[in-house]
């Protein structure tokens, strides 16, 4: 039984980017609670109930993971690979939100069955728009198996 708390897991190591993303979510009136992991290890611990998140109910999956690629310790692609390899998280919606638009990153992300790949614009107005559309699409419009 999946518990849907509507949480957004934001995996972002840059505190300013974190704050900007939260601001953008806020100005797009997305009220879902946001959990923040500051590197890949923390993100995996959160999702699998290990390490600092030992004991967390792993059935309580976030509605959406916003995943940066360049992360300390375990990078975003590795996190994505591990999520896809685990039955519990294989279908979890993951959106890469990154500065990179290197072809190799795009290719690898899609090979790992990412749900979406968004490049963060420098222009904050555009960034706001992107985050707003992201929220609308993934939190409101999109349907995911196993949820009512």
């Amino acid at each position: 039984m999946i518990v849907d708390s509507g949480i957004i897991l934001l995996v972002e190591d840059n505190p300013r980017d974190e704050e900007l993303t939260l601001l953008a979510l806020e100005s797009s009136r997305i009220a879902n609670p946001v959990a923040v992991a500051r590197d890949g290890v923390e993100a995996l611990d959160y999702l699998f109930g290990t390490g600092t998140y030992r004991g967390r109910d792993t059935a309580d999956l976030p509605r959406l993971v916003l995943l940066d690629l360049k992360l300390p310790r375990i990078d975003g692609l590795e996190v994505l690979a591990r999520l896809r390899a685990d039955a519990r998280t294989a279908l979890l919606p993951v959106v890469i939100l990154t500065s990179s638009d290197e072809e190799s990153d795009l290719l690898r992300s899609y090979q790992l069955h990412v749900n979406s790949y968004i490049r963060k614009p420098v222009d904050f107005v555009q960034f706001n728009e992107v985050v707003g559309q992201l929220g609308l699409y993934w939190l409101v419009l999109n349907r995911t198996p196993g949820r009512r």
């Binding site: 300013r16 360049k70 290197e102 420098v122 222009d123 904050f124």
Partner: protein, 569 residues
């Protein structure tokens, strides 16, 4: 003087004479001298006169010897012969015998015969004086050929030759002919051998003759000079050890593979690769060829081996191999270096892409947040300055993106395919109209323009060129952008022409250099990287790009997408 003797005595005389003659004939190979001695031996026991005539190759007949016990008579006979020389077409006498190969016996010479045969009275008188009474001529026949004839004449002795004498004379003649023939054959063989030796000696290749029992019997001059003459007389194996004959390939010593041994087994071998140690201590590379030497009836006499010294060629080849291996190694090293440099560049670009943009986003984002949420705390100047920060951050973002694109067009792998340039241009045109619907720009695009190239790269190139034309025609009243193709030296030249601001040809050199801009940022925005990117794309296709313009006259950019053929003129 020979008296009339009994048949028995005569036979005994002949028998004794033939024994002496055979001994004489086998004593020397100088048959001229031998025949003269033979003629002298004949007189007076067998005949009073003996004359020997030889036939030359041209058919002429030459008297080699005339013998009589009295030298004065010999002189007389010579004198007589000068007056009536034997001619090859004489119907009788020596010429006839030589021609027919059959002996001629005149048992008794009568005076009437002389009168009939001799017209010259002086000669006739001399002949009568000489008193010839009997004569026989026997051919010198060997191996079916008549080499000459022996004439025996009886005079003072008054002996009349009979069939017995004739048959004994024929016996003598055949023995003499055999001796002559042997001597001639020997001389011919000597001559041929001398010629062969001379030829072999002078041949530049080293020639070695090996006997059937593998002994070196001959080395020509080149071989002696090369290997040392001491090898003559040695066995092949002995020599092989001495000069360390080894194969090129593995340096192995295997006498079974020696050219001489293989030739002695009946093989004909060519260009076997051997190396030997020369007397001076250096290695020489040889190509050895050999064939058996057989007699006509198939007896193996030995083998002839020819060695060609290819040391300098082999050394040049080895040097070439070494150089190319070295070059290959260097290419490998360079490739590794290049790959590592490329990887560094990739890592650098990746880092730029990730890390350089993040701070800009903060600068832009927080400035925007300040404006949005704390706008009332700023006056007009404060607001303007915050906007400057945002503009600067965004400009730097564009610069980084342009730089990344520039580096990406050099890094990525090219996948050549047929690219519809006309279609590409139309889609770029559509995008530009969508992005800036207020502009009115007339596009004229040739139909069916196509090229072989990397589609994404060509898209970037056209996007930049058409985008530039779009940008610089902003102030033109009737903006017009043309895309066309012509051919120069059988190669398509594509042209993007506009009627915009143009540029000063004095600065055409700087056009394709990254970050060089010919217009102030306030006049026409831009990163100064677009044309550098275009040029890299064109160069990666092996093509060229150039531009023509004048300030206010519009600009034309021309490019090719394949290497220009070298002019044959």
């Amino acid at each position: 003087m020979m008296a009339v003797t009994s048949n028995h005595q005569r036979r005994e005389t002949w028998r004794q004479f033939l024994i002496d003659a055979v001994a004489l004939l086998s004593s020397s190979l100088d048959y001229d001298a031998t025949l003269i001695t033979l003629a002298n031996l004949t007189v007076p026991e067998i005949a009073d006169w003996c004359s020997i005539a030889m036939r030359h190759d041209d058919g002429s007949i030459h008297t080699l010897a005339v013998a009589h016990v009295d030298p004065a008579k010999v002189a007389l006979a010579h004198d007589l012969q000068k007056r009536i020389p034997a001619a090859s077409d004489d119907v009788r006498g020596v010429a006839q015998v030589i021609r027919s190969g059959t002996p001629d016996l005149t048992h008794e010479i009568t005076d009437s015969m002389l009168v009939e045969a001799i017209s010259d009275p002086e000669v006739l008188a001399t002949m009568r004086q000489l008193g010839f009474c009997s004569a026989m001529i026997v051919p010198l026949k060997a191996r079916g050929q008549t080499l000459g004839a022996i004439t025996l004449v009886s005079a003072e002795s008054a002996h009349l030759f009979d069939e017995d004498d004739l048959s004994l004379a024929q016996d003598l003649a055949s023995r003499a002919a055999l001796a002559i023939d042997n001597a001639r054959l020997y001389q011919q063989a000597q001559k041929v051998a001398a010629e062969h030796t001379a030829v072999m000696e002078r041949i530049a290749d080293a020639l070695v003759l090996v006997s059937s029992n593998e002994e070196i019997t001959f080395m020509n001059e080149a071989a002696r000079r090369f290997f040392g003459a001491q090898l003559v007389g040695q066995s092949v194996e002995q020599s092989g050890t001495q000069i360390q004959v080894r194969s090129w390939k593995d340096g192995a010593y295997d006498p079974d593979l020696f050219p001489s041994r293989r030739a002695l087994r009946g093989e004909v071998v060519h260009d076997l690769e051997w190396k030997v140690l020369l007397p001076d201590g250096t290695d020489a590379y040889l190509l050895g060829s050999a064939s058996p030497v057989d007699t006509e009836d198939g007896n193996r006499l030995g083998a002839v081996v020819a060695f060609r010294d290819v040391t300098s060629r082999k050394q040049a080849e080895d040097e070439l191999h070494r150089l190319s291996a070295e070059l290959e190694q260097r290419v490998i090293e360079r490739t590794v270096q290049l790959e590592s440099a490329n990887q560094e560049l990739e890592a650098f670009a990746y880092s730029v892409s990730h890390d350089l943009r993040a701070p800009l986003r903060s600068m832009d984002g927080f400035s925007q947040v300040l404006l949005e949420r704390f706008g009332e705390q700023f006056d007009e100047r404060g607001t303007r300055y915050l906007n400057h920060i945002r503009d600067a951050a965004q400009e730097m973002g564009r610069l980084i993106d342009a730089l990344l694109q520039l580096s990406r067009v050099s890094r990525g792998e090219m996948r050549p395919e047929r690219v519809d340039l006309s279609g590409l241009a139309h889609s770029i045109e559509a995008n530009l109209h969508t992005a800036d619907p207020d502009r009115e720009v007339q596009f004229v695009i040739d139909h069916g323009m196509a090229a072989i190239g990397d589609a994404p790269l060509l898209h970037v190139a056209l996007e930049n060129l058409i985008g530039n034309a779009w940008k610089y025609t902003r102030n033109s009243p009737c903006a017009r952008i043309e895309l066309s193709v012509t051919r120069q030296d059988a190669i398509p030249v594509f042209m993007v022409r506009d009627n915009g601001a143009g540029f000063d040809m004095a600065y055409v050199d700087k056009l394709f250099t990254p970050f060089q801009r010919l217009h102030a940022a306030g006049e026409f925005e831009g990163t100064g990287i677009g044309l550098a990117t275009v040029q890299r794309i064109i160069h990666r296709h092996g093509g060229r790009i150039w531009a023509e313009s004048a300030t206010g006259q519009g600009a034309t950019f021309c490019f090719t997408l394949q290497p220009t053929r070298k002019s044959s003129a």
